[in-house]
Symmetry: C2
Subunit: 267 residues, 2 copies
């Protein structure tokens, strides 16, 4: 306010020199977890409404359109929302694409200019099949209704999911990991860890929590051994390991991934 | 083959100097339509498996993993797939993000470096609520089953969709269009047409086809007048108008947007 810099240079500077701020529901890992894992792996400085007093009020203010119109940003429909300086963006894969180059979690542009699109495609596919579809397994009819109001439909959808869909997506990622473009080592693309690996890890972790019998059976089958190797490799990354053991890692609860015994179906 | 250029410069050149090639199911607009509208609006040269003899075989080869491993690209799970020179990428919002800067359908990077993330966020939200959710209205239990095997659940989900979800998403985009960041004129962001406008147009067009009673009622209410103005403004873009009247525009059929009288519910 007291400086003489122009609004443009002020915006520029403040956007790069401040910690990231994640706006997401406190109490569940949810879709915000994909953003957290990227920030944690990179050792980036960030704040998180999950661990701030009255954090939920900030989430609600965005959703209810109570945030003042700043003239720069597009209103968000739902969290996760990332605030970085004056920039406010939403949608998980969008936030990850913004963070990817900044956190070193995509191939460097000067070495592989289209690598980011390959990483983004993988992240979108993991989110489709291993996050959105599991969510719909307990809410197939309406997100505005309780699970108890759609139990029969949830059972039917979960049966299809564990038998047909889960194996389809595991098989797809196994195929990716066997392709030459995945390179050496356990990672999906280019022989180096990218945020697509973190997304796949988190999705698998959630699906393991929700459908432990199905995941155990598929793991035992050996048909997806590279997928499960990737899962273990992410878990052993020093910063991820430290994060998972910290109290910043929230427990699964009534979010995307939920454990209902009647949905824990053996495929 | 006969040149002396290095593989890298060869790849670079061929990726930029050839028409785009869209790989998508012939016979329905589907998610491929978002890619077509971007290419058509920009007047870009492209080929399309929807209009090539045996185009479906090319789609199937990708899905079945029969495409030889080229050592560069990641296998695709599902179309749309975009081929541009040696590059092959999948996932609708990913393809649009690749095309956006090339086709002039996002703010120029040197004027608004983060504009692309605002556009991408809007496109993702439109696809979530006005493409994925309508699809699930006729396939709430399993994509592998016929509609006839999930009719009761479809009715229940469609009732919720037209009453609660559709108005939520229309209201969101109305809010965006009223925000300062949308700028002057009918567009979502920055006072200029971006691919997010094309995505929203195509989504609304499909939802109008699937739920004509609900859309007519919401249009008549006047609560979403900016959203419907955007729809008309896209329709009147000279290249889009020419495209929609051409035989390149395929009719809705058994794809994402389907008309079932029993699902055409008045909210």
């Amino acid at each position: 306010m007291a400086t003489t810099t122009s609004p443009a240079s002020k915006r520029q500077r403040s956007s790069k020199d401040v910690p990231y701020h994640l706006i997401y529901w406190p109490g569940v890992p949810g879709r915000g977890e994909h953003v957290r894992l990227a920030l944690e792996e990179a050792g980036a400085e960030y704040t998180d409404t999950a661990h701030i007093k009255d954090g939920i009020k900030e989430v609600m203010a965005h959703i209810n359109g109570e945030v003042p119109d700043d003239g720069i940003n597009v209103p968000a429909l739902a969290p996760p929302i990332l605030k970085h300086g004056d920039l406010v963006i939403s949608q998980t894969p969008n936030i990850l694409m913004y963070l990817g180059p900044r956190l070193g979690l995509v191939p460097p542009h000067d070495e592989d200019e289209d690598g980011i699109y390959k990483v983004n495609g993988l992240a979108l596919t993991a989110l489709d099949g291993l996050s959105n579809e599991p969510h719909d397994c307990h809410h197939p009819i309406a997100t505005g209704l309780y699970y108890e109001d759609q139990k029969a439909e949830s059972k039917r959808k979960s049966e299809d999911y564990v038998k047909n869909r889960l194996s389809k997506f595991l098989g797809y990622f196994e195929r990716v990991l066997k392709s030459k473009a995945s390179g050496d080592g356990p990672w999906l693309y280019g022989g180096k860890l990218t945020y697509a690996d973190l997304v796949l890890f988190q999705c698998l972790d959630g699906v393991k929590f929700m459908f432990p019998k199905a995941v155990a059976k598929y793991e035992k089958s050996g048909d997806y051994s590279n997928v499960f190797k990737l899962y273990e490799a992410v878990k052993e990354r020093p910063k991820i390991k430290e994060y998972l053991a910290s109290d910043r890692r929230q427990k699964y609860s009534m979010g995307i991934y939920r454990y209902y015994e009647e949905l824990d179906i053996e495929p």
